[in-house]
Amino acid sequence: MNELRFDVVGAEGAKRFFGALTPQTLAHAYCFTGPSGVGKKTFARRLAQSLLCLAPHSGVLGYDGTCSSCALFRGENARHPDFLEHEGVLRIGERDAPAAFADGEALSARDLVRQLSMQSYSGGMRVLLLGDVEFATLHAANALLKFLEEPPAGVVMIVTTATPGRLLETIRSRVVEVRFPPLSNADVAEILRRMHYGDADAQLGASLSGGSVTRALAALEQEEESLRAAVVRWFFESVEGKSPQELWATRETLTEGLETIKMLVRDWIVAGGHDGVALMSVDHADRLRKLRPLGRREAAALLAKLDEAARLARTNVSPGLIGEFVRMALTSSR
């Protein structure tokens, strides 16, 4: 018999938590919370693989990687029929749409309710992962609520989100929250090495990551780096009261750009008098330290405006207007 393994870097708290559970003590729904890029979805997929693995288990975590169920987690072309995954906005779906198994982007809340009303395909558990979930409408959220109020036997639902406060309180109160803190730089570097980055790139990515693999990859990839470089130039020009020549905010770049600005503002606050707290944007440390330190109220007001910008970014407000809104906030904090 092959030894069971659970191949996830970091997430020690979550490993301890699930390591103490048995299939009998498993709840029907979990909410993995934490910043983006810290491994919430990866952990959820490995947990799903563990729960569906055919090798004998006493606990919850661990899979053998060789059984016919694990084979369906290995390939990019396959999907375990009892593992449903959807990422992003969940729509309510068409009423009385033709019955067919839906997955990925095509999955709607109505499909989900219908599919969860069927028995397991292979005779074991069923696992549903809603990654970075957002609900298009209240109806879509209520469809999920119906599941949470009367969970079918043998179904485990995992919701991941970086903003748990945006979930309906009625949903949050019915799920077990498991927190995923930022990864250590060593963990990020290890993950990057496993993704075939060289040691030097892995170290650089980790130092720019702020504990997030997503951010490390963005920093390492040339294309993303050019966006970051443009945003950094724009940030310093704005803070220094100049009119930025280069505009970066488009529908595609807005979220990532706002994240970069938020990290720079965080470093601006830290550079102004929080000794011992490490800067995330180590490549711009000197320039950040030269900026006038922000007072507490100024910092709080600026962060609130960035949060407002992030909220606006999820609406149909023009990206250019949002960029201007942030520029004015930065300029007034000068």
Partner: protein, 371 residues
């Protein structure tokens, strides 16, 4: 794997199986058909993970094994071949077909990534005459709900197996259809399966002509039901849930009844429904003096009045029904005469054929409307 077969056999099997493939699937392997070779047969399988269709056909299998090939592409290719023999060689990444002086390579996906069907559940297996099963399906599934909002359980049809009897029940909460028949093997444990009605429609279409259908449950909790007739198998994922206690809906006794000509009543109801319009298609049936009077009225359309001669037993009665539901039930009654039994104007009525079918007993229950 390596085998040779006639183009006609493989085209028919792949063409039939590929109809199950969901064109919008996001899982690449589910766009493929799985071909499995063993002894002198090739089994073609396609699934949308709710319904799995398998067709087997004879072949000279030189080397066993499996291969998966894009379903629509392969079915279209085979459909364009003339009669003859082809040779197929499959590897995890490629399926090569030699036919006369042509040679095609199709990109394949590894067969071990194709979702396997669970093993058979212990004990849950029986055989039934194809005609009995097909009649049962035709007599019941129309009464299942088509509204998702009412839940998957009511969209399914209940198959209840006990000893040597099979009872099939479908209801949408307003009407109920029941068909009781016998099976060919006695089952040791009673079993209940809720089968999605669309899957049963596929069974009637694909397997109904066969002499005998083997029904077996798959999975640790009898999660799927496999129905096999000859070289065709349909496996369907069962609905998870508790079917309503339908026995409670069927009145234990009735105190009056009419025996009526089924075609005559259908025709009268159809005409009267035109007048009833949008008032829930309400028609009234008044029974008195061996006569059934069908009436309907609406402010917009006017009034309808029809008399039919019936055999009445018990007291007179006036009761209202949704004409569309009653017509649909009567359309499924085999035979020229139907018996309608009543308990009162607000109690459910039972409808059945005067002469029971050879293949099983039909019973329908319809809720009346408030007048």
């Amino acid at each position: 794997m390596k085998f040779s077969c006639t183009t006609k056999d493989i085209a028919a099997a792949v063409g039939a199986a590929s109809k199950v493939v969901n064109a919008h699937t996001t899982v690449p392997i589910l766009s493929n058909v799985l071909l499995q070779g063993e002894s002198e047969k090739i089994a073609v399988r396609a699934t949308d993970l709710e319904l799995t269709l398998e067709h087997a056909f004879p072949a000279q299998v030189a080397e066993g094994g499996s291969v998966t090939i894009p379903a629509k592409l392969f079915a279209s290719y085979l459909g364009n071949l003339a009669a003859g023999t082809l040779e197929l060689t499959g590897t995890p990444t490629r399926a090569s077909v030699k036919y006369e002086r042509s040679n095609y390579d199709f990109h394949a996906l590894p067969a071990d990534e194709y979702p396997p069907l669970p093993a058979a559940a212990r004990g849950s297996q029986f055989g039934i005459a194809g005609r009995r099963f097909r009649d049962g399906i035709e007599a019941t599934i129309f009464a299942a709900s088509s509204e998702e909002a009412r839940g998957a359980v009511l969209m399914g049809t209940l198959l209840e197996v006990e000893g040597k009897s099979l009872t099939m029940v479908a209801t949408d909460g307003y009407r109920l259809a029941k068909f009781a028949t016998t099976i060919e093997d006695e089952v040791s444990a009673n079993e209940k399966f809720i089968v999605p009605s669309r899957a049963l429609a596929e069974v009637a279409r694909n397997l109904g002509g066969g002499e005998r259908i083997e029904v077996s449950a798959l999975g640790a909790q009898s999660n799927q039901l496999r129905m096999t007739g000859g070289d065709v198998s349909i496996t369907v994922r069962l609905v998870d849930g508790q079917y309503p206690n339908y026995q409670q809906v069927i009145p234990a006794k009735f105190d009056r009844s009419v025996t009526v000509s089924t075609p005559a009543l259908i025709a009268s109801l159809r005409r009267a429904e035109l007048v009833a319009g949008d008032r829930a298609s309400m028609v009234k049936l008044a029974i008195a003096n061996q006569t059934l009077i069908v009436t309907a009225s609406s402010d917009i359309s006017g009034n309808a009045y029809e008399e039919l001669e019936v055999e009445q037993s018990g007291e007179d009665l006036t009761i209202a029904f949704n004409a569309r539901y009653l017509v649909e039930i009567l359309n499924h009654i085999k035979g020229d005469k139907a018996v309608i039994e009543f308990l009162g104007p607000l109690s459910p009525a039972a409808i059945r054929p005067l002469e029971p079918l050879e293949t099983g007993q039909q019973l329908y229950v319809l809720m009346p409307l408030r007048q």
